[in-house]
């Protein structure tokens, strides 16, 4: 039985691609390259649990001490709201008129550029400074920024050693905070529930009345001693600098106790006579943070929050900070400080991503097993290979376009997984069918492969474009939810296009390497009237 080399002219892009790459020595190299860039993208891309939602907005805070809510509403909130209304792209304006302060919260439509929106808001407030009432203080414009505002790590520090003073505790935590701030890609660190050191002068009202003193006097007396003034920079006759100055007279708690307030009946009255003075914490700050665990029971704690810079990998930043904390542990131990890691978004993001990557792998394996049953081992192998190639290409495109790996991106992959093996299945199925068709005996392998690929090219293209078209309008869904789901309309079409390319390029190539024409005697198929060569197979021209 002689084989005839046919010059099959592919009509569709599918056949053309198959033809080009069927004999190209670069094809296997291209496959390796694809897998490599995919793997690299998976490793480098920033990982996070939820996708970034570009919420832009901010708060304008205008304090006006002593004003009532109604007053604030009329002179601050209403005029401000009117002015902010003039900004384009603002969706909601929330005005809050409280005692002593007016706050206007501005929220832009989802998806507005954050930097420009912040500038617009700042501009508008600054332009209208003259409208603010006389006794209002400088307005504060505070844009909100999810990236920086939502900490990825929180630590609760507590005192192990009860003898450790609050002041010393605060000082040590501040040092840790400073060190963490130096870690690469850490943006903001903040303390919650921390109490600063403070000297408290607590005056006894009874004694005050007894000595006929006023609080104002004490205030004055303390203020006149505890002052910081820059040093004097004088010059000598020969123009050399001599520096001298009066330092702050308060060096210790005893200095405070011995401040003289007044004379009463000829004898001096000191602070210690009318007040208790302590080296303590800021008692006027009512805020307090506590921690409970089974081992510790309830203890006061200071929470240290760590945020990361936008666009950086939460997993890496968290690991770096945790490594630093591990390093500091012995020192903390020595000082009598313990800590509990109370939030780790880095781990959460990594777990979420890894779990989904596992799901992806399991799914690929299940599909591969299914294909072995229906198509045979080699065919299944070919289709299974296309999946990582397609995902790799999609991941790379996602990386190039500045996306991050998050739950939704991976769901987009899972969603497309069922769809993207389709192209390869359809191609391999058609190759399989053509190989087993009776006229296969006349044709050489290459022709069958190209022809089989080319045959289903047009309908597969149209059908894939149809699926892509269903995804495109989803990119225009507005609001939070639309923004949240964006990775799906962004990645599914890319994956589908990639699936077409990979199916057309690699499926015929791998088929050539792995599949063989079955040995079979040709027989009459019921709708084959007479033996004739396919019209596109020109025997004379084909014998090269």
């Amino acid at each position: 039985m002689s084989e005839i080399k046919c010059n099959y002219k592919p009509k569709d892009i599918a056949g053309k691609l198959a033809l080009i790459f069927l004999h190209n020595p670069l094809t296997p190299l291209l496959a390796v390259f694809l897998l490599a860039i995919g793997y690299l993208s998976l490793e480098i891309m920033p990982r996070e649990e939820d996708p970034q939602i570009a919420i832009s907005g901010g708060a304008v805070i205008v304090p006006m001490p002593g004003a009532t809510p109604k007053e604030i509403e009329n002179v601050i909130v209403k005029p401000l709201e009117e002015k902010i209304r003039e900004i384009k792209g603002v969706e909601y304006i929330y005005g809050i008129a409280k005692h002593n302060v007016g706050i206007v919260n501005v929220q832009y439509y989802i998806g507005q550029n954050r930097e420009i929106s912040n500038l617009k808001l700042y501009d508008k407030v600054m332009q209208n400074m003259d409208m603010l009432p006389k006794n209002a203080m400088q307005p504060l414009v505070k844009p909100f920024d999810i990236d920086i505002d939502i900490p990825i790590l929180t630590f609760a520090f507590y005192k192990k050693d009860p003898k450790l003073s609050d002041g010393e505790f605060y000082k040590l935590i501040r040092q840790i905070k400073y060190k963490i701030n130096g870690v690469k890609n850490v943006s903001k660190t903040a303390l919650k529930g921390a109490h600063k050191r403070q000297f408290n002068i607590l005056v006894d009202l009874g004694k005050l009345t007894g000595y006929h003193l006023s609080m104002g006097q004490i205030m004055q007396a303390v203020g006149s001693v505890a002052k910081e003034v820059p040093e004097v920079k004088d010059r000598t006759k020969d123009k050399k600098i001599v520096i001298f100055g009066v330092p702050n007279a308060i060096e210790s708690i005893d200095d405070v106790k011995n401040i003289m307030v007044a004379n009463y009946m000829g004898s001096p009255i000191y602070i210690k006579d009318i007040a208790t003075v302590e080296d303590g914490i800021d008692i006027q700050n009512f805020k307090e943070a506590l921690i409970w665990t089974k081992e510790l029971h309830t203890k006061p704690q200071y929470t240290l929050e760590v945020s990361k810079l936008k666009g950086t990998n939460a997993v890496f930043v968290a690991n770096d900070v945790l490594a630093l904390m591990e390093e500091l542990k012995p020192k903390l131990q020595k000082e009598g400080i313990g800590y509990v890691l109370t939030r780790n978004y880095g781990k959460r993001a990594n777990d979420a991503v890894n779990e989904l990557v596992d799901h992806l792998l399991i799914t690929i394996a299940i599909i591969a097993v299914m294909l072995v049953f229906f198509l045979g081992f080699k065919e299944a192998l070919i289709v299974t290979f296309t999946v990582p190639a397609i995902l790799a290409l999609t991941l790379f495109v996602a990386y190039i376009t500045g996306q991050s790996i998050n739950r939704i991106t991976l769901f987009a992959f899972l969603l497309s997984l069922g769809l993207l093996v389709d192209a390869a299945i359809i191609v391999i199925e058609n190759i399989h069918r053509h190989l087993h068709e009776h006229d296969a005996v006349y044709k050489d392998m290459d022709t069958i492969l190209v022809e089989a690929t080319d045959e289903i090219g047009a309908p597969t293209n149209v059908a894939t474009v149809a699926i892509i078209l269903t995804m495109v309008p989803m990119a225009f869904v507005g609001g939070m939810m639309g923004e949240f789901m964006k990775p799906i309309p962004y990645n599914v079409p890319v994956a589908l296009l990639a699936s077409l390319l990979v199916a057309y390029i690699f499926t015929p190539y791998l088929s050539k390497k792995l599949l063989k024409k079955p040995h079979m005697h040709h027989h009459h198929h019921h709708f084959q009237k007479e033996e004739k060569l396919p019209p596109e197979c020109d025997i004379d021209g084909g014998k090269q």
Binding site: E82, G216, I291, L414, E429, A463, T470
Partner: protein, 567 residues
């Protein structure tokens, strides 16, 4: 293969059989669609997500002290301590907890008063834990609320779960707009009462300051001037004595911050007995101020103490005064309790207000029958996001339909063939809805039709149109190239294409199997599985019937062989 070909052919060859297929398909379509209005399949934007953490927000009435807040916090802590799965709890008294997605829109950052607290409850890892976090919250909520809320009247304790998708202020938010502060307050009370008596709504709260009593020390200007004092001085000294101020600083080189010298009356001497006018007077009795001449003037000589009520904070949204009434849902979708509450509002408040429906879907306008004052009730929070999302996804779906339609018209240059493909695609909705019904039957928790289900449905449109396109294309090729009669071509095409259609369907079903077990994307998985099954049935039975009936499908010519050859 041959059998299936015969089977299809037998259907196509008989008019009553074709009619039966069409009626059956349309009947199942009707049966599936009816599951939505009859609430057999429930709708929700996003289902709950099991997390390793949840928060507790404690709100005491405005004007409560930090000590009272601490007491409520301890009460909650005592209950949570007994939970085996709780690893650690952080309490933040007088402020918000470190910001998270939920806190971002729930105003955590702005919390800065003695009457609030937030708690973060960390649990053991969700994979090693039996109980899902939302079930745990569901179980603990009534225990905590019934035990700790009565500690101080007017206290609300909310258990906040991490949102599965984008965060919202609350599941149900009724924004009540109206210029008259007092009347709006009253209406908000009534709406909140209705919420409290609606099944499925929990953590009901009115977002406004409570009204409490306070005192004004009204300066008697004449007396103040005569005694050589100034009003400003009175204000300042009073603040200094009872609240305290920094009198100076001690700068320290060994310490990371300046150390202020804080001056205030001692705690024993500044405390007032109780909240009565007498107690305030008694406390200020001995308080004296020094005038310009250095003489001491008793404070009570120059001021009159009058009890007043506080002025609550005024809130605006988009330049209108409003009050929020919020509620969370407990394991159920917010759609149905909201509709219940809305019906109750119309029923119960109908006596006092004339109620009309306004602009957007469920919003109401209430006009006071006596005064003619107008109040607007608009639904916000998750409900608005849900409606907006479903509306947008619906539009996206229609746009997708139109795009596919045009694409196929361009490809086949025939409207009829496009119609066939579209009909086939749309029918996958049968599988989507039945899939959810079955999923709801087999799972312990309610399985909702969610926004992700809709995405699945949209994706299915493309998948099932692919099946139809492959069928039509193959049948067309058989007719043109092999000169096989139309009916036989369709049967052969269906039988040949059945294999790849089944294969891709199985790939999708297996691919979505793990998706279906995910709390958030379960809807998508179920939609894909159910829809694909439906799509296979539709494309292998219904589409051939439609193709046979369509004139546009006729590509036969004089060369076409007779039907007899294939019998």
């Amino acid at each position: 293969m041959k059998k299936f070909e015969k089977f299809i052919y037998s259907i196509l060859d008989s008019r009553p059989k074709k009619a039966l297929v069409i009626t059956l398909i349309l009947a199942t379509l009707a049966a599936s669609v009816i599951l939505i209005p009859t609430k057999v399949v429930l709708v929700k934007m996003l289902p709950g997500k099991s997390a390793n953490t949840f928060s507790v927000y404690i709100d005491l009435p405005t004007g409560s002290s930090i000590e009272e807040t601490k007491k409520v916090n301890e009460c909650v802590l005592d209950i949570l301590k007994k939970e085996k799965e709780v690893t650690d709890i952080e309490s933040f008294l007088g402020m918000g907890a470190p910001l998270d997605y939920a806190g971002l829109v729930k105003g955590s950052v702005y919390k800065n008063s003695e009457n609030v607290a937030e708690m973060v409850v960390n649990l053991t890892d969700k994979h090693e834990r039996q109980e899902r976090s939302y079930n745990m919250v569901h179980r603990l909520r009534p225990v905590i609320q019934s035990k700790c809320e009565p500690l101080k009247k007017g206290t609300t304790i909310k258990l906040i779960e991490q949102p599965a998708g984008p965060p919202t202020l609350a599941a149900v938010v009724a924004e009540i707009y109206g210029e008259n502060n007092k009347e709006r307050r009253k209406l908000a009370q009534k709406v909140a009462d209705i919420f409290r008596h609606t099944d499925g709504l929990v953590d009901v709260d009115i977002m406004e300051d409570d009204i409490f009593r306070k005192y004004h020390l009204k300066p008697n200007i004449d007396k103040i001037q005569k005694s050589g004092l100034a009003v400003e001085q009175v204000q300042k000294i009073l603040y200094l004595a009872f609240e305290g101020m920094d009198a100076g600083v001690k700068n320290s080189e060994e310490y990371p911050a300046q150390i202020p010298l804080f001056l205030r009356l001692s705690d024993e001497t500044r405390r007032v007995e109780d909240k009565s006018l007498q107690a305030i007077k008694a406390k200020l009795q001995s308080f004296e101020l020094m005038n310009q001449k250095g003489m001491m003037v008793p404070l009570l000589e120059v001021v009159d103490i009058v009890p007043v009520t506080n002025e609550p904070t005024i809130m605006h949204k988009n330049l209108r005064r409003y009050t929020n009434v919020i509620a969370e849902t407990d394991l159920v979708s917010q759609v149905y309790p909201l509709l219940d509450a809305r019906a109750k509002i119309i029923e119960n408040l109908g006596k006092e207000y004339k109620i009309e429906t306004t602009d957007y879907l469920f919003n109401l306008r209430l006009t006071d029958k006596k005064t003619g004052e107008v109040f607007d009730l608009k639904w916000g929070g998750e409900m608005k996001v849900t409606l907006d999302t479903f509306r947008d996804l619906g539009l996206a779906f229609i746009a997708a339909l139109i795009l596919i339609y045009l694409l196929i018209v361009v490809y086949y240059k025939s409207y009829t063939l496009s119609n066939i493909v579209m009909a086939g695609s749309f029918l996958s909705i049968i599988g989507v809805i039945f899939g959810h019904w079955v999923a709801d039957l087999v799972t312990a928790d309610t399985f909702f039709l969610t926004a992700t289900s809709l995405i699945g449905f949209i994706a299915l449109m493309g998948i099932s149109s692919r099946n139809s396109i492959l069928l039509i294309d193959f049948a067309k090729a058989l007719m043109i190239e092999k000169h096989i009669p139309k009916r036989r071509s369709i049967a052969i095409a269906t039988a040949t294409r059945a294999r790849p259609i089944m294969l891709t369907a199985i790939a999708i079903i297996l691919g979505s199997a793990l998706l279906a077990s995910d709390p958030i994307f379960g809807g998508l998985g179920v939609a894909l599985i159910g829809g694909t099954v439906a799509a296979v049935v539709v494309s292998l039975l219904f589409i051939p019937v439609l193709m046979d009936n369509a004139k546009a499908m006729d590509f036969t010519d004089e060369q076409t062989r007779s039907e007899e050859e294939f019998k």
